[in-house]
């Protein structure tokens, strides 16, 4: 499971960074979104990957180690919300830039005439 997750995050970040460096604003925003997916997966996995661990909601007798770590879950929720909000805001700026400059280059002007 660790390997699959690591490969997934690696692919997401690699595609995200490549897109982030592209000249079109839409590519940039998709790149940012992909990176934020990878980061969210990463935060989620730092508590240690386990299958079948109980959430802290259930009363399970015995060791505290039987529970899944709740803190990364709380962190990832916050990160998702904030990431979503900032991406939405970026989208608005992107549209404004498109409207004001008439093209979708990140610098507001195309190199090619």
């Amino acid at each position: 499971m660790e390997l699959v997750l690591a490969i997934a995050m690696g692919v997401l970040v690699a595609s995200g960074v490549w897109l982030l460096l592209r000249p079109r604003t839409f590519q940039v925003i998709i790149g940012l979104t992909l990176i934020s997916y990878a980061v969210n997966l990463f935060i989620f996995s730092i508590g240690g990957l386990r299958t079948g661990a109980d959430p802290v909601l259930h009363e399970v007798a015995g060791d505290i180690a039987q529970y899944a770590d709740p803190l990364p879950q709380a962190l990832v929720l916050t990160a998702i919300v904030i990431g979503f909000a900032t991406t939405a805001l970026f989208l608005v700026v992107l549209l404004a830039s498109r409207g004001l400059t008439g093209n979708d280059h990140v610098d507001g002007e195309d190199g090619t005439p």
């Binding site: 982030l20 604003t25 940039v28 940012l32 990176i35 934020s36 980061v39 990463f42 935060i43 730092i46 508590g47 803190l71 990364p72 962190l75 916050t78 990160a79 904030i82 990431g83 909000a85 900032t86 991406t87 805001l89 970026f90 700026v93 992107l94 404004a96 830039s97 004001l100 400059t101 990140v106 610098d107 507001g108």
Partner: protein
């Protein structure tokens, strides 16, 4: 002092901003009154907190801890007030109050929701200064960044939207690095409380120490983007030059947030007590990064052809200076650096406002910053049309704006260059004198570069001043409203006041520096004594 006063700098702007959003843009007078009340109250609260923080320390410095939800620090989230955070709170509140008259004066030309956004910015800034927890730091950073995105775009126009697009993209990427760094640190240590981290770091096994360092380095890169260290700070001059003057003046504080966090974390987590493997981790990078930032700032400053960029490169130079100074890990240098931080923030804020006044021509949609002549001798003055502005009859007009603006410009130049009569010199001297005793080889390089940067600031600002005030006698200046010039005079007056009364502030800053250089008391105060770490 009631302990609940500590959370007031966060709750008050939040409530005021929410109220202003509900009231709506049309009732400008109510919204403006609310902002004024909020800013004055924030200054009052900050002064009270500053006094409380300075009283606590006789010998063993105390740190006030506010436990949110009353959970003990290892489980719950804490706000921590020590001398450094109280100082930053006061600086934020004073800058916000001083900029407010400027922001209120020309409201006719501005876009919407300036006041609520700036209150949210204050909330984020205050929260970032107070928090004692890395993840909360992320949340407050996002709050202040989200507000700053709105403010950077304030007034709209292609130039601002284009600069804002870059600013947002860079900062979103930096936030991702922030999150990766935070989660790596959490993965290694299992806590995000700064005091608990400081306690755990000496005991991290060698096997995972590299991961911890990688996390801290990623976190550091995220802050260095905010602090505009050289290869990471290309967004800064353009964004600052493109924003409206009042916003840019508030943004003068934004790079200082990055500096503040780096100062706090590097001393708390990687100070002398962090064990041989981790102590002073990253300080070499910060020192040479600071040197590179100052050098790049000098080049930019000498090449800048408009006042906004000139001020932007001044921000970069002051960030680089601070970065290098705090990397030396010397209490005396840090005390001087804090003085320099205060003076340079106020000075650069005033300079942005003056630059805005010199260029303001009533038409906010066009280029706000005044561009200077290009170097080719036969250059045609292309911008003169923009400077001859239609006058608005209803403004309250001062009789001699040119003289006042000239004096303000001159005062800003002296402050930023650090020349003798004003407090800029005192702050720079307090920082540079102990720097020569630092053992690091880079300290001399930094010292030399800071002095050179002072000279280059004089050259660049003299050239700009001569072109603006002397070279073209027929140039007319836009008229100045009382509120706008009031802001500038308030900021410069504060710097003047700090020139006259030096003793008490410097004493306080020395105490603050000693306090953050002895993190043991911070850790002891934040973590409940009964609990021993596993």
């Amino acid at each position: 002092m009631s302990i609940h006063l500590i959370i007031a700098p966060i709750v008050l702007p939040l409530l005021v901003a929410a109220l202003q959003l509900v009231i709506g843009e049309r009732r400008r007078r109510t919204v403006a009154t609310l902002s004024v009340v909020s800013c004055i109250a924030l200054v009052g609260v900050a002064v009270a907190l500053l006094l409380a923080a300075s009283q606590q320390g006789d010998g063993a410095a105390m740190t006030a801890v506010y436990r949110l939800g009353d959970w003990p620090a290892r489980f719950g989230i804490v706000l921590v007030l020590d001398r450094l955070s109280a100082l930053m709170l006061l600086l934020t509140a004073v800058l916000a109050l001083a900029v407010l008259p400027y922001a209120l004066a020309p409201w006719r030309h501005r876009g919407g929701h300036f006041q609520p956004l700036s209150q949210f910015l204050l909330m984020g800034l205050n929260g970032a200064f107070l928090t004692g927890d890395l993840f909360n730091l992320f949340v407050f950073f996002e709050v202040l960044l989200a507000a700053s995105y709105g403010l950077a775009l304030h007034g709209s126009g292609p130039r601002r939207v284009s600069a804002g697009l870059h600013y947002i993209a860079v900062n979103l990427t930096a936030s991702m690095l922030f999150l990766i760094g935070v989660s790596l640190i959490f993965g290694v240590t299992g806590t995000l409380n700064m005091a608990a981290l400081a306690e755990l770091i000496p005991r991290v096994p060698a096997r995972t120490r590299a991961l911890l360092h990688a996390g801290a380095a990623l976190l550091g890169v995220a802050f260095l983007v905010k602090a505009a260290m050289w290869p990471l700070g290309f967004w800064l001059p353009r964004t600052y030059a493109a924003s409206t003057p009042a916003v840019a003046a508030m943004f003068a504080l934004m790079t200082k947030v990055g500096i503040y966090v780096l100062l706090r974390l590097s001393l708390l987590l990687f100070g002398d007590g962090a064990g041989p493997a981790s102590s002073h981790f990253g300080s070499g990078w910060m020192l040479w990064g600071g040197v590179a930032t100052v050098a790049a700032g000098i080049v930019g400053l000498l090449g800048a052809r408009d006042l906004g960029k000139l001020a932007g490169y001044n921000v970069a130079i002051s960030a680089g200076t601070l970065l290098g100074a705090i990397a030396l890990h010397q209490a005396a240098v840090t005390a001087g650096a804090l003085a320099y931080l205060v003076i340079s923030t106020l000075g650069i804020g005033a300079f942005f406002l003056v630059a805005g006044l010199l260029a303001s021509d009533g038409d906010e949609d066009t280029d706000d910053t005044l561009s200077l002549e290009p170097y080719d001798p036969g250059g045609v003055d292309s911008r003169s049309d923009a400077l001859f502005a239609a006058e608005d009859e209803s403004r309250v007009v001062l009789s001699a704006p040119v003289a006042i603006l000239g004096v303000c410009f001159f005062a800003c130049a002296i402050l930023l260059a650090g020349l003798p009569p004003l407090s800029g010199f005192l702050a720079k001297f307090a920082m540079l004198a102990p720097m020569l005793d630092a053992p690091q080889p880079g300290a001399r390089v930094l010292f030399t570069l800071i002095v050179v940067a002072g000279f280059c600031t004089v050259i660049a600002l003299c050239r700009a001043g001569i072109q603006i005030f002397w070279a073209e006698p027929e140039r007319t200046f836009a008229q100045v409203r009382v509120g706008e010039i009031g802001s500038v005079l308030l900021l410069l007056g504060l710097c003047l006041l700090l020139t006259v009364m030096v003793e008490a502030p410097l004493h306080y800053l020395g105490d603050a520096a000693r306090q953050i250089h002895a993190p043991a008391s911070y850790i002891h105060d934040v973590l409940p004594a009964a609990q021993v770490a596993p």
